[in-house]
Amino acid sequence: MNLLNSIIVGVKEIWSHKFRSLLTMLGIILGVSSLVAMSALVKGMENGMKEALIAMGGLDKVLLEDQQVPPYQEQLSDQAVGRTIDDVHALERSAPLIRLVSPEMALRGATVSRAGKSVTPSELVGVWPAVLDMNLHVLQYGRFFTPLDEERASSVCVIGAGIRDELFGSPEETGREIVPLGQILNINGQPFTIVGMFEHYESERDRKEREWAKAHPQEKTNTGPARMRGWGRRGGWAFWRKNLTVYIPLNTMWVRFRSAAGAANIPDPHLTDIDLKVASLDQLEPALQQARNVLMLTHHGIEDFAFQTQENNVENINSAIHNARMSGGIIAAIGLIVGGIGIMNIMLASITERIREIGIRKAIGATFRDMFLQILVESVVIAILGGAAGLLASLGAVHVLQMIAPTENTPIITLPACVLAFASSVGIGVLAGLIPAFKAAKLDPIQALRYE
């Protein structure tokens, strides 16, 4: 008997036990769909995390952080200077492996208001123009701060599109893009002129969704609140945060908001952040060493600072993804194995039920190979159908997962995951069929015919 005939016989056999075959397939369907859905979730998570990483400034960004004075220098701790603008100047002058230095002086808990509306920005920071390159900002309207703004400590600000949305109305609400250049807003009661606005940051997916909604204006799906926040889907946390930025010149921050905090009539000169970018990621270690040497001079040998690279973040992301992938994979593998056991079980029951048929087939000339193939093909066909149904089901499973646990990351069904899931379902069909097929093929015709 040739393979085509075996397949036809196998499919007929499965068709004649539709319900039983469906139940048998269920294990494989669950295994395949959970494998594909899991990997889609993990892929979405991975993409979201990578996008967020870029939104936060990219891989070559290094944070210079305050650190407890180390124990062996404890007696010097009252002389620790902390991070000041001196460090920034020194690094710019003497650390050529550091491409960019961006000092930041933040004002915590600030409120920005205008005409009765107010918003709490994610960060209100005094900055240099270096911050644009540092945090990968794109200025869409107006200008950034000039040296004159810095020199004069002008009351000007550059805002993220989210601030505009809150105070002036978003394009979705008003139907047009409001550009609030020249408008005045109050930061903790002090008036500032808006001189520039960043573009609206969003994830790749949100951008596509928004463009689609624009192209299909008749479909008004937006019945919910205009804007979902925090860990909600829209934009994701990193993008949401970035859109709610307010920048003012560093000097303005120091003069206007720090004067009350300092000593001896000098406003508090401490910077809240110094961000660095290295000239080349390959030179990360030497660059950090160089920066450290420079800073040890400005800090009089007291090591009250530390570097935090994105490498830590990348490692965290990678290990989180690895873990998610492993646990998802194990769950899916268990599903597939259980499915395989189900198939083997039903095939064993099926050949016991068909011993007489097997005896008749052998009596009229079926060989070991014929019977072996017939049973194996049946098992593989069940697995293939189950695998295909599982792929379809995974589309639904992804939606269900998204509904149960909405995240900012769209699950992405990848081709390799589908291929892997389908191939393993076929492989499991073969494995599950081997023992029943062997048992059937080895049956002695006489004993099989006599079986009641």
Binding site: M1, N2, N5, K12, E13, S16, R356, E357, G359, I360, R361, K362, A363, I364, G365, A366, T367, F368, R369, D370, P445, I446, L449
Partner: protein, 241 residues
């Protein structure tokens, strides 16, 4: 050389330490074209002999040669081939596959013989014509009477044009009238030149065949062969008819 040569064949079963000689040193030749019946009481070893002749079972001792092939030396694969091409088997309980229709049942030996779908169909229809059932080709076995089912089984046994047809109590499960129809069919086939060996415990049926072999306790007890002009061939000497 005879079509079938059985030499000193024994089949011994062991049941709980007890030895059961289902066949005890049986020798037998069947020539091409013969119509032969094997008769004996229940448990005498008729079916055992049939199964060994039909290559469904192997002897414990002795040799068997069918159409020049030594069966006891053949591989499982060769045996399957011989069952498929050289032997047609008709069972007492018909043994049709209930899920296949009549035509598919008759086609089945050719499926394992590797014929094309077209050739299978044509030959199966011709075999069904021989047993007068071509108008029932689309029916399931369950929709046929016992006699009709047995005729389908005979068509299936004939479809690969075998050297010899073995029938183990082909009428044993039928009423006497239907049994006669089947017997008539077998006789007709024999007259067309086919080699047929049938098992029965009914002397009336055995009387139809020119050559008769009686088995008792696994041994041939009586042998009636027209070629030997009434001379018993095998010990112990019995009474000729």
């Amino acid at each position: 050389m005879a079509l079938v040569e059985l030499r000193n064949v024994s089949k011994i079963y062991h049941l709980g330490g007890e030895e059961i000689r289902a066949l005890d040193d049986v020798s037998l030749d069947i020539e091409a074209g013969e119509f032969i019946s094997i008769i004996g009481p229940s448990g005498s070893g008729k079916s055992t002999l049939m199964h060994i002749l039909g290559c469904l079972d192997t002897p414990t001792k002795g040799t068997i040669q069918i159409d020049g092939t030594m069966i006891q030396d053949a591989t499982a694969r060769q045996l399957a081939g011989i069952r498929n091409r050289k032997i047609g088997f008709v069972f007492q309980f018909f043994n049709l596959l209930p899920k296949l229709n009549v035509l598919q049942n008759v086609e089945l030996p050719m499926v394992y013989g590797g014929l094309s779908a077209r050739a299978r169909r044509d030959r199966a229809m011709r075999a069904l014509q021989m047993v007068d059932l071509e108008n029932r080709s689309k029916h399931r076995p369950m929709q046929l009477s016992g006699g009709q089912q047995q005729r389908v089984a005979i068509a299936r046994a004939l479809v690969n044009d075998p050297k010899i047809v073995f029938a183990d109590e082909p009428t044993g499960n039928l009423d006497s009238h239907t049994g006669e129809v089947i017997l008539e069919l077998l006789r007709k086939l024999s007259q067309e030149g086919r080699t047929i060996a049938l098992v029965t415990h009914d002397p009336e049926i055995a009387a139809v065949t020119p050559r008769r072999i009686e088995i008792r306790d696994g041994k041939i007890s009586r042998h009636i062969d027209p070629k030997l002009a009434g001379q018993p061939r095998v010990e112990p000497v019995g009474v000729s008819v």
